[in-house]
């Protein structure tokens, strides 16, 4: 599986190499890095129930752990995991159809959703380049859907300053994305 080499795929290749070398922390990082992506494919892409999504999530990482040494192109970790997740979701849907024939089926907008999630992962990679206060406030507000009040209490910030901080951090993130080599990607469109 050959992929265009990007900053993200170079990062992945290093992570895979560390996993192969037996670096115990590398597997934790790999799971941490891809847990949101795999989860989102299950629940947004395939609209699995939480119960089925949990089974698929564990199966995907178990298969990844077992098959990682056989990955032919270390730069291809992301598409490989996406394909593994997609196949495991389809297996789960087929198993569900055997039990309840009226249910299941691959959603029509699946490719569109998977494309969005790919872009979203690139944005998260750029987010990792920001300072910790920006990473935290953007993640809490957008990804965790926390209110100004919750964020204010957690970060000990006056609620009145949160909106302006989010705005400033978004601008920083946009700049980081451009530095990240993503300026020609459709994140602004």
């Amino acid at each position: 599986m050959a992929v265009h080499q990007t900053a993200e795929s170079a990062l992945d290749a290093k992570l895979v190499a560390r996993c192969r070398a037996g670096d115990a922390s590398a597997w934790n990082e790999l799971v941490e890095r891809y847990s949101r992506y795999v989860y989102a494919i299950c629940v947004q892409g395939f609209r699995l129930s939480e119960h089925d999504a949990e089974d698929v999530f564990q199966d995907v990482f178990a298969k990844a752990y077992e098959q990682l040494p056989k990955l032919r192109d270390d730069h291809a970790l992301r598409p490989w995991l996406a394909q593994l997740t997609r196949r495991t979701c389809i297996d789960s849907l087929r198993a569900g159809r055997r039990e309840q024939p009226a249910e299941g089926g691959e959603p029509e907008d699946l490719d569109e959703t998977l494309g969005l999630l790919d872009e979203a992962l690139t944005v998260r990679d750029a987010l990792a380049e920001l300072d910790e206060p920006c990473r935290e406030i953007l993640d809490r507000f957008f990804a965790r859907d926390e209110s100004y009040r919750t964020i204010g209490e957690a970060l000990e910030l006056p609620q009145g300053t949160i909106a302006s901080r989010i705005s400033r951090c978004l601008v920083k993130l946009r700049a980081a994305l451009e530095d990240f080599g993503a300026a020609d990607r459709p994140v602004n469109g």
């Binding site: 847990s35 949990e54 564990q58 999630l117 957008f142 990804a143 989010i166």
Partner: protein, 86 residues
Amino acid sequence: MSNVAWDGTERIAELLAALPPAPHGWVAAAQELPFARASLDDLLVRAREDSELRARLLADLEAALAEEGIPATPAVISLARIHLEH
């Protein structure tokens, strides 16, 4: 989100919102896989040579793991299934 001055960053905000965290317990279970594999190695080798043990594992994986003194965590169960199905 209405108080935020977007300044052309709406798409970035949408993409941030597209990846909420997976439940913490799921992530922790997946991170246990190397330890799960270590605890399963001996059992999987024996199951390849012992058809009765393999049959017990296939019939009721969680109970068979418990009999062998192996905690049936989600990571252990997933790994064991992968090996038993092949």
